[in-house]
Symmetry: C2
Subunit: 338 residues, 2 copies
DNA sequence: ACTCGTATCCGAAACGTTTTGGAGGATAAT
DNA sequence: ATTATCCTCCAAAACGTTTCGGATACGAGT
């Protein structure tokens, strides 16, 4: 591995000149710059990024910290698609990406601050972290730039990117109302996610707009889990036979709800309309296919990275970004026939 | 950020002593070691890994190089699950993980060697690379340790981990034969993947064992793509009405094949049995659910990392690992009724 | 008294860069 | 002739570690 010294020696100049030549400084003769470039290529020289980072105190590296990078994530692919977006954007902008995953286990051992400092990331993107996570307040105090995904919190050094969950949920429920459904249940996610509250708000917005009173007992906590949603939906449908439609805060929970309905002998969608949220792959393949609110997870990651690098490079036009949802009509919803 | 010098000054010793104390060398008095540790904690000292790596020439970092980290990967989740396995194993062993993604675009600009050297990874895992990829021969020549996923090639510094595709395919086809199917078509993957050849071999093994002659025209190239598989399956089924079963080299292609069959008016599984390969999430949710050969992608990543770190630390008991498949019976196959 | 071993510590070099603050010479301006 | 201004270049310091080769002191063995 050729070092800068080798190039300098071969070119008969100092290391300073090589450094400045290769980095495009103007105080080096074009003639010698060309010669140095030539020799560098010849020697297959490529600068040692460790040494560079050490002296420059810049690593050109961002971290993606994900809480719970588990195999179960395969079902909704949230993390994977965010990762793709982050990776693409980081690649385009010349940043390296290191993946950091934590769980409550590891959080005992290392504080957020230590993690960030050790890994030598300039900035970090947080994905999958819950609102009661101890890291969260550390993040807000810390002064290393950070972008939160789906957690609308800000400070001097932290911003966020999220989807317009409220509007999305509202359009889902409005769709059901437009189909003539009067009694609409909701399977929500757990309360350790901001999006749960937002989607509940959207649900209520839609009801209110049509002058329908909100029924507390119509909404249950499915914890974003398929099985949990199934049992909750079963109970909900049994306790409230008047329900003709369900809005689920995630497609995965919608899957669970649909299974519950099927087991209860309901015909879908004629006897129960279901709309989900997320537009995961599964929702297009299941039977019936799922009407849902699409959110662009790839874009979420991409924008997060754009925001983060923006902060790192000082162009802080904005520290937050809210993406729109898209309504997707499929087979799981139809007019109310009761 | 406290440096080792700060600790040394505070403790009234040299940096050497601090370094050796913290790193557990024996030539430092236990009393002073304790004192130093105390002070280090007090100052929240944590060593600068850049500096350490620079002098030690060890980064404790491995790279996961994936070719085509694209959103389409959501459908089979192969990369995501491998990633989970790699991440978990790397985390357990104290290695950092950097994600590197390439495409033919980027490969023009940087050679494999440059990539590895610049990113300062000690070893690398390759996922999703095709057999005609120019990087492949570079890998084999290079002397940085590397583990290939699903490419059975070896050299001094490279090993691989894969699944027993041949045996898996054989058991899939044997299952169909046992159900009384005599004419079994195959939708294979493209030839730029080793697994395609292996799965074809397994298909032939099964036929041979039952004394059925192999019919060249029964196997088509679906290129691991759902749509492509659909068109190929359509043609295949039309040209060979005698076929009562299909073996597909991936679940995704099986989805395409099933759609093709449905469009041709075939009842599934009564009029066509289909078995896939992979056991992706979708296969359990589709209608009919898919009989398939499961391969453990998480384990693939985990074992790859174990092998790689083994090589890095000199315990080279083995440089390759072959995982077993598991047969999973679902709804898409049944007895031949013709 | 001399040597030897052992326990404990330290100075300085090394890793490969970037950057600071000039030096030297040539040319232009006064 | 002197000064100022460019244009090129460079030596040395700095980044924060680890490690090599001693150095010092003390007690034991002879």
């Amino acid at each position: 591995m050729a070092t800068i010294r080798d190039v300098a020696k071969r070119a008969g100049v100092s290391v300073t000149t090589v450094s400045r030549a290769l980095n495009g400084y103007s105080d080096v003769n074009e003639k010698t710059r060309e010669r140095i470039k030539e020799i560098a290529k010849e020697l297959k020289y490529s600068p040692n990024l460790l040494a560079r980072s050490l002296v420059m105190k810049k690593t050109k590296t961002i971290g993606l910290l994900v809480s719970g990078l588990k195999i179960e994530g395969s079902k909704d692919n949230f993390t994977y698609e965010v990762l793709c977006g982050v990776n693409d954007c980081a690649g385009q902008l010349g940043y390296e990406l290191v993946l950091i995953s934590t769980d409550s286990q590891k959080q005992q051992e290392k504080t957020y601050k230590q993690l960030v400092q050790e890994r030598k990331v300039e900035g970090i993107i947080l994905q999958g972290i819950k609102t009661d996570d101890p890291y969260l307040e550390e993040v807000l105090k810390s002064d290393t730039p950070c972008i939160l995904i789906d957690i609308p919190m800000e400070s001097d050094s932290v911003g966020y990117v999220t989807t317009d969950n409220r509007e999305g949920a509202k359009s889902a429920v409005t769709h059901l109302l437009d189909l003539g459904h009067q009694h609409i249940g909701m399977i929500n996610g757990h309360s350790q996610a901001f999006v749960s509250q937002e989607r509940l708000d959207g649900y209520q917005d839609a009801l209110q707009e049509k002058g329908i009173t909100f029924e507390e007992s119509y909404v249950r906590n499915g914890a974003f889990l398929e099985e949990r949603a199934e049992t909750e939906a079963t109970k909900l449908l049994q306790e409230h036979p008047e329900l003709t439609a369900l809005f689920c805060a995630s497609d995965l929970m919608a899957m669970g709800a649909i299974r519950a309905a099927k087991k209860l002998g309901r015909k879908l969608p004629e006897e129960l309309s279901v709309v989900g949220f997320d537009n995961i792959i599964l929702s297009a393949y299941s039977t019936p296919s799922l009407t849902t609110i699409a959110q662009d997870r790839y874009q979420l990651g991409f924008e997060a990275t754009k925001l983060l690098t923006g902060m790192l490079e000082g162009n802080m036009d904005s520290k937050k970004k809210i993406l729109n949802t898209a309504f997707i009509k499929r087979e799981s919803t139809c007019e109310n026939h009761t």
